[in-house]
């Protein structure tokens, strides 16, 4: 940063974001997608494809005219459902060792093994334990897979234009980018779906126009007697209750579903109850709590760290990682574990800036209590001009007012106004000081 007071702030922001970037490791799925695109792009370019964004300005008008003229044709092509030369169809391989897959050909997994379908965009579908099905359609941005019976695990690479369908008996699962396990037992009329990542929409039979599932949820449905139920992943497999009412046009869930969802709040999706029983791809995705936490998957991060030994992981972690694990625990509702992590940072890194950040985190963990006041004061004592100082003062003021500690609130209000006369709580602080003056007079 090169300009006045913005300099240190810019450097600070860059440094923190570099830490985030350094932890953003390359993705094997993206690598595969780019390899496929690199192989296909030559043909697309030969057909006149290419990015518009880099076109010189003088060509933009001409391109606009050309594009407008081509719009009708392009729309017609789109309606036809065929792909443009710039968007080659996906391909796929089947089995281990891999052999080229063919659309429409039935495939069956070994009785006690798995049969992988690997698509050129990196998407993987694994049939397991004698499951039978086939790929019935390949598009440029997705495919349609039919699971006739049995169980399949799908890891669909996210893409803006992704259009994946998994047809399982009479049920249809619409997918963009996600990880889920689906099973269909036609003899028992039993459809189940467990969603580990992303969002899917399931339709057919009892689900009518469709039911949207969020990550951390599972669905069970039947067709002959239209019934279905939704629950959190770590709940028991939901029993199918009384017949479900048809979904309304707006897609509002039936009362039966509402009652189940009350036990499975969307805000706190949870991982599968036993990672060891999860499909292999899901387990592979769960091997690094740091990545999961940085990606916002706090519950899964916490579970992975716990499976590996929470205390041992904390002991091995540096200050920043220990704080990160504490945050994952706190944000997934494991307050005790979060406290252990933060307290550990304060013990192990006493005197460091990390210890002060742990104090701030402890204040946040105990928000609204007198203990939180102590932690925010600790932060301010250790880092009076730290980057969280303003926030700590904010929270001190808010908490002391909430706790009715007038003397402390007044002192903090004065301090606050002196340092942040335009801060978010300035008006409240000013009112407090003025009222105190009136009362005193």
């Amino acid at each position: 940063m090169t300009s006045g007071g913005l300099g240190p702030l810019g450097k600070h922001v860059a440094q923190q974001l570099d830490d985030v970037a350094a932890r953003n490791e390359a993705s094997e799925a993206t690598r595969r997608v780019l390899a496929a695109r690199s192989a296909a792009a030559k043909h697309a370019r030969a057909s006149g494809g290419g990015g518009l964004f880099a076109a010189p300005a003088r060509w933009r008008l001409a391109l606009l005219v050309a594009c407008t003229a081509a719009l009708g044709l392009a729309f017609g092509v789109w309606v036809e459902g065929s792909s443009s030369p710039a968007s080659p169809l996906l391909s796929f391989s089947v089995g281990q060792p891999a052999r080229p897959g063919t659309v429409g050909v039935w495939e069956r997994a070994p009785a006690d093994g798995v049969l992988p379908f690997v698509f050129s965009d990196g998407t993987r579908v694994k049939f397991s334990d004698g499951s039978r099905g086939r790929v019935v359609h390949l598009g440029a941005h997705g495919a349609e897979v039919v699971l006739e019976s049995g169980r399949a695990f799908a890891s669909v690479v996210p893409a803006r234009d992704g259009a994946w369908l998994v047809r399982s008996g009479p049920f249809l699962v619409e997918v963009k980018g996600t990880e889920f396990e689906v099973s269909w037992d036609p003899a028992r009329d039993d459809f189940r779906l467990r969603l580990f990542e992303g969002r899917v929409r399931v339709s057919g039979c009892s689900l009518g126009a469709g039911q949207t599932l969020e990550r951390g949820q599972q669905l069970r449905a039947a067709c002959a007697e239209p019934r279905f139920a939704v629950a959190a992943l770590d709940d028991a497999v939901p029993a199918l209750g009384e017949a479900a009412r048809p979904l309304e046009a707006q897609g509002r869930p039936s009362p039966a579903v509402d009652s189940v969802q009350e036990r499975a709040p969307r805000a706190a999706p949870r991982p599968p109850p036993n990672a060891k029983s999860s499909p292999p791809a899901a387990a592979a995705a769960l091997d690094n709590w740091r990545e999961l936490a940085r990606a916002g998957h706090f519950e899964r991060a916490y579970q992975v760290a716990t499976d590996a030994g929470y205390a041992a992981e904390l002991e091995r972690a540096g200050a920043n990682d220990a704080l990160l694990l504490g945050d994952a625990a706190r944000l997934s509702g494991h307050g005790g574990a979060a406290r252990t992590a933060y307290q550990g940072v304060r013990d192990r890194f006493a005197g460091d800036a990390a210890a002060a950040r742990a104090a701030f985190a402890l204040g946040r963990l105990t928000a609204g209590t007198s203990e939180s006041l102590r932690w925010f004061e600790t932060y301010l004592a250790e880092q009076p001009r730290g980057s969280l100082a303003g926030a700590a003062l904010d929270r001190l003021l808010e908490t002391s007012i909430r706790l009715g500690d007038k003397a402390r609130a007044l002192a903090i209000a004065r301090r606050y106004l002196a340092q942040y006369p335009g801060g978010p709580h300035a008006e409240q602080a000013r009112e407090l000081v003025e009222r105190s003056a009136v009362d005193g007079g």
Partner: protein, 212 residues
Amino acid sequence: MKQGAPRRIKVTRSPPSLLRLPIHLTNAEIVEAIRTGQPLGGTALYDQHHAYVCSVLLRILGPDADLHDLIQEVFLAAIDSIERLKDPDALRSWLASICVHQAYREIRRRTRSRWFFLTDDDETLERTAPVATPEVDEAVRATYRVLDKLPAQERIAFALRFINEMELIEVAEACQVSLATAKRRLARARKKFTTMARTYPELADWLLGGEA
């Protein structure tokens, strides 16, 4: 970087795990591999420039839960448009301009989304950046809350200049505008940013002269 005659890269089609690049390629070799339709070109481009693209996007957009998608889109756009790159040595700055383009689209998308759902700016940010990156401190979050209120082009110019520490001419090139236009955008962005930032306690100390 020395750019000799491009080596012919052996194409490996399967299994996918073998696509990981075992050697370092020059920019010229990467460009040549992509132009000749070799899968290795795409993976090499990604392996050797992923960190840079990630860094530029992060600095423009702030901590973002959808970063993986955006990174992938930058590289897909680069592969699709590789014929427009005249000088392989300019690959890095060319990727920066693609980042700017993708970031601009992303900012516009967020803006439309906020308008459509009538959500408050800060509320939207609270749902995305801070939750996904708990290790980022309040000053960084506040910085992007302020930047989120700037027009997209000014925000990008500001981030490239003051956070990514690009020279003025580099900012102009990345934004594909003249130097004069880049200067005007920066001046407007700086004025708006400092005015708004004063209302954020997390930023006040920084603007007064830096953190303790």
